[in-house]
Symmetry: C2
Subunit: 177 residues, 2 copies
């Protein structure tokens, strides 16, 4: 789905760079004429991402920002086609450093305002850590109150797995119905 919306020349944000998987994926999609912004509050995540982008020869397509994604609007001066979030902790990293409801919801709200019509927010929500349930509920509550006339919200979950992560895809409608 992302690869239909994020294409050559697109602008996109990885709000949680982590190990750089999603940043690399987005950098590939936007091509030489597009731009990606990647945020992370962990220095290690920014370094990991920088290394992977360098190896792939795509570092010039990405602006790496060592800072919180709740300040996304300070760094991104334009409307974008997609914003990705991996909420929870950095896989393989310090599980004591996690995203938290207050900044997450602030970042989601700012991301929403940055989207072009037709653009999408993609959230992967990991919530099996202390505080994860509160963040899950904050994210679900935020998504549920989005106007169905302006936003398509789809949640993909795995009901027979215990505390499984879930995915939300939130698309800004092209025309309000």
């Amino acid at each position: 789905m992302l690869s239909q919306i994020v294409t050559e020349g697109s602008l996109a944000i990885d709000a949680t760079a982590g190990n750089g998987n999603d940043t690399l994926f987005l950098a590939g999609l936007v091509g030489e004429t597009g731009q990606v912004w990647a945020f992370d509050i962990q220095k290690q995540a920014i370094e990991n991402t920088r290394r992977r982008l360098t190896e792939a020869g795509m570092l010039h397509r990405v602006r790496l920002i060592h800072g919180g994604h709740e300040e996304i609007d300070r760094f991104v001066p334009q409307k974008v086609h997609a914003v990705l979030f991996n909420l929870g902790y950095l896989p393989g990293g310090d599980t004591g450093i996690v995203t938290v409801p207050e900044t997450t919801v602030k970042a989601l709200e700012k991301s929403r305002e940055l989207l072009w019509p037709g653009g999408i927010l993609c959230l992967a929500v990991y919530w099996g850590h202390p505080g994860g349930k509160e963040e899950k509920e904050a994210v679900e509550g935020w998504a549920a109150q989005l106007s169905p006339y302006a936003w398509d919200v789809e949640k993909i979950s795995f009901p027979n797995r215990n505390i499984a992560p879930f995915v939300m895809v939130i698309q800004k409608k092209c025309l309000e119905a």
Copy 2:
């Protein structure tokens, strides 16, 4: 997804023929060498489906059964690749005639036993009618208790729409993990 699993020569079941949309779709996928069984407790649904299949020249690919899907195993003598359910009421039909938890869960359980490894159950759950919430909960409870080692269960829901239908895709794993 269905069209990757249900192909020429496949066997499939439409557990709720309704207006025949899904039956027609399955009959197209299974081709001349496959077979579809379509159930409905409403005479009108069976007639609607028969007419649509006849118009499409595919009636010979489908066995129409005017009866409850909880008896699915009496009519289908073989393992199948897919079983489709539209739970709730017949769109455009009598909203007083609805599927109910007892027979639905029985039918789901029997369908599950009829699946080949790799085969899928697809459920569209409409629950905005009296009794709908109970059926929704029965279906969710049934799906949640399926072993994650033997079944992949995915739920697709629309959290910002009021009492929106949701979809479940339940796939029997090829190998138990």
